[in-house]
Amino acid sequence: MEPLAANGGIKLFIPETYDIVWSLIILVILGCFFYKFFLPKFQSIFDERSAKIEGGIKKAKEAQESADQAKKKYEDQLSQARVDASKIRDDARSEASRIISDARTRAEGEAAQITATAQRSIESQQQQAMVSLKGDVGSLAAALAGKILGAKLEDEDTQSKVLDQLIDDMAEKTHEG
């Protein structure tokens, strides 16, 4: 190996003109490439990507919000419906109790009326029965009295005959019985 110093090692640290020229040319070309094309291109990709992601997040947020709103609306409606339902139930219950009490009142009235009618009818029938019984008893008593009195009025014999006949009748009835 050649000794470095002997061969002018210092030369290593002295730029050659053509080397400077080419280094600058290459750096300028690469700089232009990176500054004007490569990095803007990737920057636009990055921006577009983050815009997409942000748009997606925003959209999801909006969807979430509208879903929340819809949920709230439905819940409100549901609770309103519950209130309505319970109101309707209460109304129905009071209506029903009113109907029942009405019906009971009416039934009681009718029952009382029926009872009264029946009472009256029984009374009138009783009256009739009494009247008719009175009539019968009277005629019967008159007949009987007539019979008794009639026979007594005719004679003693007849009286005894009647008595005998009565006894016979009774005996016959007893025998027949």
């Binding site: 190996m1 050649e2 290593l12 053509y18 080397d19 280094s23 750096l27 490439f33 500054y35 990095l39």
Partner: protein, 269 residues
């Protein structure tokens, strides 16, 4: 004079083709003597430039909203430079403006460094002092412009040359040092760090492989062939290490450029 034995004679005559600094000072092969002369390293650099333009150009022109695997990988690198280098050092507000510059530096230096391990190229495109120097001068210009734009020329120079909170007699030594640091040390350290890493990497790999080639192929001795295999293993490991160094130096160059630019902003109290 003792006559050397056969094997040693072969060794003495051919010897391993060890690398030298000539590798970094190749003779021009095209347009010799003009300012547009092209030597081997510049040719490699042009090739690397074409590769970058083609590969990244096609990637960008086919870039889609939903990335393919390759596009995802490129985007990962872009995200890395933006978030882990620029924004982490100077924050998003300041950093936004410098993302293109740092990305350009990082990707270019990375690909140029990797040329050192690409078969056929075998030399980093950053392996002359000029290319790292040009990057460093770009950084220098950027941080001077930033300082003047953000603070105005005098407040900026005052902040840099006369740091606050120092007793005034110290300025006699401090100000020249600060001046040197601002205009010379920062760019030169950027340049030499990258350049020396590439030179050293190339020498290490080339020495290992030269010995491997010499011991395995040129010298017909199976014991020495064993040594050659060890040299080859070392060369293999150093090549892998070079890939790591290529990425590391690109990262260091990018992050130091960012730090230097960030220092041009007014100091927050």
């Amino acid at each position: 004079m003792v006559q050397p034995s056969g094997a040693v004679l072969v060794a003495a005559e051919n010897g391993p083709e060890l690398p030298s600094i000539r590798d970094f000072l190749p003779d021009p092969i095209l347009f010799q003597g003009t300012p547009f002369a092209i030597n081997r390293i510049i040719f490699v650099r042009l090739l690397a430039m074409v590769i970058i333009l083609l590969v990244l150009g096609i990637t960008a022109s086919r870039a889609k909203l939903i990335p393919s695997r390759w596009q995802g990988a490129v985007e990962w690198v872009l995200d890395f430079v933006r978030d882990s280098v620029v924004y982490q050092v100077m924050g998003e507000l300041r950093g936004r403006r410098y993302v293109p510059m740092i990305t350009t530096i990082f990707l270019t230096v990375l690909v140029f460094n990797l040329c050192g391990v690409i078969p056929g190229m075998n030399i980093a495109a950053t392996a002359t002092i000029t290319m790292p120097l040009v990057f460093a001068l770009w950084t220098l210009a950027q941080y001077l412009v930033t300082g003047i734009r953000e603070q105005g020329l005098w407040p900026y120079l005052k902040q840099e040359l006369f740091p606050a909170g120092v007793p005034w007699p110290l300025y006699i030594i401090l100000t020249p040092i600060q001046f040197l640091e601002l205009l010379v040390i920062k760019p030169v350290s950027l340049t030499i760090r990258l350049f020396a890493n590439m030179v050293a990497g190339h020498l290490l790999v080339a020495v290992s492989l030269a010995f491997a080639q010499y011991y395995i192929i040129v010298v017909s001795n199976k014991w020495l062939a064993l040594a050659g295999v060890s040299w080859f293993g070392l060369g293999f490991a150093l090549t892998a290490f070079e890939m790591f160094v290529a990425a590391l130096q690109a990262y260091i160059f990018a992050i130091l450029s960012t730090v230097y630019i960030n220092q041009s902003f007014p100091e927050e109290d």
